[in-house]
Symmetry: C2
Subunit: 122 residues, 2 copies
Amino acid sequence: MKTTEKITDAELEIMKVLWNRKSLTLNEIVGELSKEEPKNKSTIKTLLYRLIDKKMVKSVQKNKKENEYKPLISEKKYLKNANENFLEKLYDGNVDHMLLNFVEDKKITKEEIEKLLKIIDE
Amino acid sequence: MKTTEKITDAELEIMKVLWNRKSLTLNEIVGELSKEEPKNKSTIKTLLYRLIDKKMVKSVQKNKKENEYKPLISEKKYLKNANENFLEKLYDGNVDHMLLNFVEDKKITKEEIEKLLKIIDE
DNA sequence: AAATTTGGATTACAGTTGTAAACTATAAAT
DNA sequence: ATTTATAGTTTACAACTGTAATCCAAATTT
């Protein structure tokens, strides 16, 4: 089961805006990411290039001056992989153990679980 | 909420054996870690030293020749922190979203949820 | 047409991480 | 007492990461 190529934390922030909006120019990405605190455009360029190298993002000419960047991997697929890695690394793949910890830390409440049960019985 | 100092993947493997056995000498650690595939003792030494630097492990003289290494942070506390980081980084802290993904990926089944409900009603 | 701006592309650089060798002092063996 | 082995400690080094500057070529402005 080939592991999806690793995305670093900083790169992930880029992917998140691409997943949200499907396709964006550099400036749009910078704009999105700078909503909280302004981000350096040069840094974002680098991250974008690294994602392109990793085949996570593709770059398509949009107009004379700008390219558009599009995610090549879906958020779902990425999350699936990340979930598995997390579970394996911290809980040796034991979901029960993981859930129990979340419940103990009050991250998961009874209400949440019941809600989940309902959804499963869809 | 000061974040617990970061433990890297390789360091985590060391912590895991310490958490399991409470206190071990270098050779015992190497032994534990080498059950699957042999590990380089020198590498393990480095990781141990880094953990000591980070105040995650302390070193106590055991006998004339050897020290004993003990975890300074509990597994529970580490996991709590790691859970929070994971949740925040990938799901913006939204547990429901996370759970739903695990369910979709068949990582969590209905049985598991019902088991969990029982435990909560302890 | 020349100057300026700007996105795309490359290069830089320090800190972290995985991996391991080198060095040192002392316990154990001879 | 001398040699040898080894735990403890320090140093090394390349790949990866976060951050950003520099370079280049084309579009836009003057």
